[in-house]
């Protein structure tokens, strides 16, 4: 166990000893601060309250964290292949599964770390600048639900984190199956942004299987406030969505591990 922690420590070293990681982190810290300051200076009057701004910033930060995590995760696997370092990594007394798992854990720790930083910074800056009047005042309609307190924010983060796990797991699979970080990053980010459009297209199809399409379940926040999910024409429950996501999660990981364990290393 102690020895296994060292594997994760190694992966962390490879993530945090890079300048790029700290530049990413500075984005996560600076963006909410700057946005809130701009809102304040642009005449954030007494009507402005923290919660809508917190949601707006969180929404944006989450997209960013997903992108960053996908970049880090594909570098942690595909990057080892393209640099050729995978050879010296795999000739150690550890199974390939153990090594891949250490990479997966380090990636998720990275996502969690960034999410916590995003949460703390957004909360602190907005509460400091605007205080926490619980007056629902939606900002530009981007965040449609009336989020008015800690509970809502935490729920929002939790739902978004589930989405993050799925997309990153998908990127991780692309990265270990195709050993190409470009493909992994491109497809995962495509996933993230095309998700809404695809959801809309599929929603128009009046078929039963639509409910099992991954894209339909990537935005769990539509269940907040008693919503019936992302497709109005196909009401679903949160439990159902989580079930479908769990199935995809299992399939993605199965593919990652199977391919990574069997693959000839020719890098």
């Amino acid at each position: 166990m102690v020895n296994y922690i060292k594997l994760i420590q190694n992966e962390n070293m490879k993530i945090y000893r890079r300048v790029g990681t700290w530049i990413m982190l500075s984005f996560i810290v600076l963006i909410p601060i700057l946005v809130s300051l701009v809102v304040l200076l642009a005449g954030g009057d007494d009507d402005t309250t923290s919660w809508p701004l917190i949601m707006l910033e969180s929404y944006f930060l989450f997209s960013l964290i997903i992108i960053f995590t996908v970049v880090v995760s594909s570098d942690t696997v595909a990057g080892e292949f393209s640099r050729g370092t995978i050879k010296l990594l795999l000739i150690r007394p550890w199974s390939r599964s153990a090594i891949l798992l250490s990479k997966y854990i380090a990636t998720m720790m990275f996502a969690l770390f960034f999410t916590i930083v995003a949460f703390i910074v957004t909360m602190l800056i907005n509460l400091a600048l605007f205080g926490s009047t619980s007056d629902s005042n939606d900002l530009g309609g981007i965040v449609s639900t009336g989020i008015v307190g800690w509970g809502d924010v935490l729920q929002y983060y939790l739902y978004q984190f589930v989405t993050l796990i799925i997309i990153v797991t998908f990127g991780f699979m692309m990265s270990s199956a195709f050993r190409s970080s470009g493909l992994a990053i491109g497809l995962s980010i495509g996933f993230l942004f095309a998700g809404n459009i695809i959801t809309g297209l599929f929603a128009m199809a009046d078929k039963v299987w639509v409910k099992y399409v991954l894209f339909m379940h990537l935005d769990l926040t539509s269940y907040m406030d008693g919503g019936t999910g992302p497709i109005p024409s196909h009401p679903m429950t949160l439990g159902f969505s989580l079930g479908v996501l769990a199935a995809y999660f299992a399939i993605f990981n199965l593919i990652s591990w199977t391919v990574f364990r069997k693959r000839d290393i020719t890098a």
Partner: protein, 308 residues
């Protein structure tokens, strides 16, 4: 020679697609032996080494290291191996020391003192805290050797380790490998293009061609220097090569090349030919025995570009 081999390859075969890249390769390396792997480009040296360290699967056959199969008992087999496969790729954004620490963490037997020892052995102590991206090829190669020996492996597998090293570095590596073999009983497998290098470094050399071992020979033969009963090429510098050739008619295949009478013979044969030529009144200005270097033999066996 009675010790159990450290590594044993049995009919190792690798088929990729429809091509047989490695074809029933078998050999053993014993403790304290330096074993060379010689072959032209694309003959399968790296592929064999990749299979030995578990990076590539075997289509058939098996490889045992210290009695453990690399296929079924990977961690127990690989823990006894240190290796460099092709280029020593390291994490460029880390320092040399962090790279070594990275590998040391994966093997519980490596202490901080041992890392330091390995660094000094390869002579990198002055630059070990520099980022690897600032290293020269030779320095990376040295770092590669350090990570390979840190855990005192029983088997050291080095794919073209002299690549990028300066003459002093090559010499140090050679001396160090011999020392490891002699004092610690490490079995060493090296592949190299530097044929003359192999002669200096190895006890035995396997010659690989198109995925098959076509010959295994001892470099430090048991027979001792100069007493080999093999036929050598001998050149006689004489005043009338044509006449000499006539005199020696029926004494095997002689020919004239570059104005020299050239034939193959052993030690006793040379003396006899010399006597006959002198008796026939031919003046002999010189006799040269062309000892074939491993390189010549190697090229002869694997064929040069003109033949191949």
């Amino acid at each position: 020679m009675s010790q159990a081999p450290i590594v044993r390859l049995q009919d190792v075969t690798k088929v990729i697609g429809k091509r047989t890249i490695i074809d029933r390769v078998s050999f053993e390396v014993r403790p304290g032996e330096v074993f060379g792997f010689l072959g032209p480009n694309g003959s399968g040296k790296t592929t064999t080494i990749r299979m030995m360290v578990g990076l590539m699967g075997l289509t058939s056959g098996d490889i045992h290291i210290g009695g453990h199969s690399i296929r079924t008992d990977f961690p127990k087999a690989i823990v006894q191996v240190g290796a460099i496969v092709e280029n020593p790729e390291m994490y460029k954004f880390l320092t040399g020391y962090q790279n070594l620490l990275h590998y040391a963490r994966m093997n519980s037997s490596i202490t901080k003192e041992r890392i330091q020892e390995a660094i000094e052995l390869v002579g990198l102590q002055d630059r070990i805290h520099d980022k690897v991206k600032k290293y020269s090829l030779g320095m990376r190669q040295r770092l590669g050797v350090a990570q390979a020996i840190m855990h005192r492996p029983k088997l050291l597998v080095l794919d073209e380790p002299t690549n990028g090293l300066d003459p002093a570095g090559i010499r140090e590596l050679r001396d160090y490998l011999r020392l490891l073999a002699r004092d610690e009983g490490t079995a060493v497998v090296v592949s190299s293009h530097m044929l003359s290098e192999m002669e200096l470094m190895c006890d035995r050399v396997a010659i690989l061609q198109k995925g098959q071992i076509i010959d295994v020979r001892s470099i430090r033969g048991e027979s001792g220097v100069g007493s080999k009963p093999t036929l050598e090429e001998v050149q006689f510098d004489v005043d009338h090569p044509d006449a000499a050739l006539g005199i020696l008619e029926g004494q095997g295949s002689g020919r004239i090349s570059d104005g020299l009478l050239t034939l193959s013979s052993d030690r006793a044969g040379i003396a006899a030919i010399n006597r006959r030529l002198v008796e026939a009144g031919i003046n002999i200005y010189g006799i040269r025995v062309k000892t074939k270097s491993l390189e010549d033999q190697f090229l002869e066996m694997t064929g040069s570009e003109t033949i191949g």
